[in-house]
Symmetry: D2
Subunit: 91 residues, 4 copies
């Protein structure tokens, strides 16, 4: 998950970008960079992680609700799973 | 929104609690409280606001996806609305 | 805390604004507002609470480090208090 | 920055851990992991990035305020720099 090849590719590209940002941060720290720029880099990584979380959540919504539920029980199970995810990660 | 009377009541109770927390904070500030406890009160309000946002989002998911869509266009519109909300507020 | 009258006034004004935003939100919920605008109002409150926390923290930094420490022990105690606050609330 | 060898080592260890978490996430995504565990991994990375930011900020406070300022102007400059950092990153 996410299942569609384009979504998977997009999510993986975000993870790779975060890895690149972390690598650049490690080099900056090793090079003795000042605190201001270092915090700026960390804030950028934080933003990228939030963007990644949103992308995965959006993909999951599309997959979960993009097709009609087979029956009422399945619909309820889908809704319960999604509200649980929102409760856990919307903070 | 949220439409069900119990959910509306629950969400309103959360807002009222936040108002009470803000009122207590105002009194603490007027009384010259120390920084530590003041920050603790603010952090508690922040947590309560996040809990409120999650509750509203969960109620919206239940309302949006709790009934089958009338047709494919409606299903797509629902999914698009929900992914847009997640993108805007999951951070 | 904050001790200076202008800072106290500024911080209190922020708390009053948050109370006003919460009151407007309660009215919107009672009036049956749509989920989108409601989430927007909650996000605005979240931003205001973060701004309040920052303002209080900044005031505390000014008060703590605006005057020279009496001795090494006091300087260390100040630094320890401030790093503890950052660790607790920077998230 | 951070200047002390132990702090630099500790901060770098946090960055390396985040890189490891991102690598594990990439592998999970490539392996088709479910959405729930993927979101859990992303939330753990988010927590680690917040911890890193706090650690860097704390180190900076220790360095900035661990020694007496040479004069009033330097003291004010230090305070102004620190309040600016808090305003930028406490959110």
């Amino acid at each position: 998950m996410p299942h569609s090849p384009e979504e998977k590719k997009r999510v993986l590209a975000r993870v790779r970008r975060i890895q690149g940002q972390a690598e650049a941060l490690a080099r900056a720290l090793e090079g003795g960079a000042d605190c201001g720029p270092v915090l700026q880099q960390i804030a950028a990584i934080r933003g990228a992680v939030n963007g990644l979380m949103s992308e995965v959540m959006e993909a999951h919504i599309r997959e979960t609700f993009g097709q009609p539920a087979g029956d009422e029980a399945q619909r309820e199970a889908r809704v319960a799973e999604m509200t649980g995810l929102v409760r856990s990660y919307l903070k």
